[in-house]
């Protein structure tokens, strides 16, 4: 599931963003499609000699981003988790356990990964194929940088800029249209049925923070377990969060009904007041274009409760 993967990614990203504060800045003329181009990603400066036409994406988020900025037709193969948008060239490649040879089979001219297993980058470097490493974004700004980087690398910088501008607008308008919840409104965000959660410091936590919500997990320390602490059940009960967000429906079939059925949980006000929101695991675990859908769902829930 996602917690481990995200937390690994976050750690890597924190390191990455310290070293490369301007990840994804295009080296070529802005808006132009001139190659060669040098972009900065978490793995340093990456030079792409000519417009790639055989991209292999081992990151479900990057796949969504590539299609969103108009580079979809250049994508030759994606990993088995890249299930969106429809019609992606899915393969059995697994972004979390790959070997260089399996990727080389597709003769890629650009590889995008969100997870960098030891030695993979070094092996791919021997194949002389440029690799962009875009790990899980720590916040929206980092995600926007990743768009721009991918845009420059694929000759779609303009598309990327448009997409980023669009996302900014949508996020702002959702936040503006949503009434601020009363101070002290909290949520428990469930990553899996053993109570792994997110703090307000994570990508998801920051997104929900835009709507004025705070995670109960913050009490464990915002950076506890990389922002993804496992909470104790009795703490969740005592914290009595206003909302419960379930990001473990897809993996583990958690629903408002199963949550209410947990021993002792019926005493929670979120259960009594039907403030349990089931989120799509896929959207919730990615930092791509569909985050606005998730944001809208939560915003609708806030409006429903207050309106």
């Amino acid at each position: 599931m996602k917690a481990v993967r995200s937390s690994l990614g976050i750690v890597a990203m924190v390191l990455g963003s310290m070293l490369f504060p301007i990840a994804g800045t295009a080296g070529a003329a802005p808006g132009g499609a001139g190659f060669p181009v040098t972009v900065k990603a978490a793995n340093g400066s990456v030079t792409i000699a000519k417009r790639p036409t055989a991209i292999v994406s081992l990151s479900a988020t990057a796949t969504e981003m590539l299609y969103a900025i108009g580079a979809g037709s250049q994508v030759k193969a994606v990993d088995k988790y890249s299930n969106y948008p429809k019609g992606t060239p899915m393969t059995s490649l697994d972004g979390y356990s790959v070997n260089a040879e399996a990727i080389a089979k597709y003769h890629p001219d650009l590889i995008v990964v969100a997870y960098d297993p030891p030695a993979l980058a070094a092996q791919l470097a021997k194949l002389k194929i440029p690799v962009i490493y875009d790990p899980a974004a720590a916040n929206l700004a980092v995600a926007y940088h990743q768009y721009l980087g991918l845009g420059a690398a694929t000759g779609h910088l303009l598309g990327a800029q448009r997409e980023v501008a669009h996302l900014r607008t949508v996020v702002t308008s959702i936040v503006k249209a949503t009434p601020r919840p009363p101070a002290g409104t909290t949520y428990y965000y469930e990553l899996d049925p053993t109570y792994y959660s997110v703090t307000s410091g994570t990508f998801m936590g920051q997104l929900l923070g835009l709507l004025g919500l705070h995670s109960i997990a913050d009490k464990a320390g915002v950076n506890s377990n990389g922002g993804y602490p496992q909470l104790t059940a009795e703490f969740i009960l005592q914290a009595n969060p206003t909302y419960i967000f379930l990001a473990d429906h897809g993996c583990c079939k958690a629903t408002p009904a199963t949550v209410a059925a947990r021993p002792g949980w019926s005493a929670l006000s979120a259960v009594a007041n039907h403030r349990i929101v089931t989120l799509s695991d896929d959207i919730a675990s990615r930092w791509g274009p569909r985050i606005v859908i998730l944001l809208q769902e939560v915003a609708n829930e806030l409006k429903r409760q207050q309106g």
Partner: protein, 356 residues
């Protein structure tokens, strides 16, 4: 032939028989204290009065007025108490299983995982999660089946290996079976890397989602296992003189071993199926008991069972409290408390005489 029976007994005062009474009594007192402590303390910091009120409200003849909020009520009765009870059951099984395995294989490092219980249960859990979307509910059953399967295979392979089945050939078979199962599990995990966070956290071992239904689920197995193991406590002492002498004393060592291994595996697999793989309890608790009491299994077995419960309840209290409100993996805590304590006990005793 006169007098095989003619020994005049009256003249001689019998030395005190191996008495389990005092050590058992002490262990029970410790267990009660630990259980009360673990029920009183938790990340949700409730007052002792609240906890006592909740506990009292479940006494059949007590009907207090509702001064406790439903949430506090739920925290104590639905979350904290089942966790303490489940921790006790799991700990007692792991410790009793360890003591029993060490007895039948006469190997001080034998523990419930030796014959492949852990590897089998891990594979079972992994298969369940990969093959079913309702995995979280099937996981305990699958882990149980996997653990029992691995031990059965170990036994078949081990007893085929030599005609006169010796303890060591079965232990070796266990190592081999465990290696194969672990390889299969790792391979599956690799292939389904993104789906396996539940397996990962299960393997680490945790009582974080303990409920009364978990308690109800394993209680029957724990009960059967405990009764069978305790009933064998004297025969475990007989096995300490080795296969051949045990046979000369009228015992079938293989049968005893099979019965004990079956019971210990049943209990361990049941415990592991709800708690995940919690290491160390099965080795450390019996050895500490052995070093601090008389080494007879009549004492070691019941006292290990009770102390195992205390140990795990205490370790789980650590798991809940050390980084509250976040959890610390239980396996980490058991190793952290257990390791140094074990070293302390070993060093403070003259242990050159061997521990079995």
């Amino acid at each position: 032939m006169t007098a095989v029976r003619s020994t005049a007994p009256d003249a001689v005062a019998a030395p005190a028989p191996v008495s389990a009474k005092r050590p058992v009594l002490i262990a029970v007192v410790v267990l009660i204290a630990v259980a009360l402590l673990a029920t009183a303390i938790g990340p949700a910091d409730l007052s002792l009065t609240t906890v006592l009120q909740v506990l009292a409200s479940h006494l059949p003849w007590w009907h207090p007025h509702g001064t406790v909020t439903p949430i506090d009520q739920a925290i104590v009765w639905e979350i904290r108490l089942p966790r303490v009870v489940l921790g006790g059951l799991v700990g007692s099984m792991l410790a009793a299983g360890g003591a029993s395995y060490q007895g039948v294989f006469r190997n001080p490092l034998a523990d419930p995982y030796l014959l492949g219980v852990a590897a089998g249960a891990g594979l079972g859990a992994t298969v369940a999660i990969i093959s079913s979307s309702r995995s979280m509910y099937l996981l305990p059953a699958a882990a149980f089946v996997g653990g029992a399967l691995a031990v059965t295979l170990t036994y078949l392979v081990g007893s085929r290996a030599t005609t006169h089945s010796s303890g060591s050939s079965i232990v070796l078979a266990g190592v081999a079976i465990a290696a194969v199962f672990t390889a299969l599990q790792t391979n599956l995990q690799q292939q389904h890397a993104a789906d396996l966070q539940p397996v990962y956290s299960w393997i680490l071992g945790s009582l974080s989602t303990a409920s009364w239904s978990d308690v109800g689920l394993i209680a029957p197995y724990v009960l059967i296992s405990a009764v069978v193991l305790l009933a064998h406590r004297r025969l475990l002492d007989v096995l300490r003189v080795g296969e051949e002498e045990a046979a000369a004393l009228g015992v079938h060592p293989q049968r005893v071993r099979l019965a004990v291994v079956a019971a210990a595996t049943l209990g361990t697999a049941a415990a592991v199926s709800v708690s995940g793989l919690i290491g160390f309890v099965g080795i450390i608790v019996p050895h500490v008991v052995r070093l601090t009491t008389n080494a007879s299994y009549r004492v070691v077995l019941p006292v290990s069972m009770i102390s195992g419960a205390s140990f795990l309840i205490l370790a789980d209290l650590g798991a809940r409290m050390l980084d509250a409100p976040a959890e610390v993996p239980l396996g980490v805590v058991t190793a952290f408390i257990g390791g140094p304590f074990f070293i302390f006990v070993l060093r403070s005793r003259r242990s050159h005489q061997g521990v079995l």
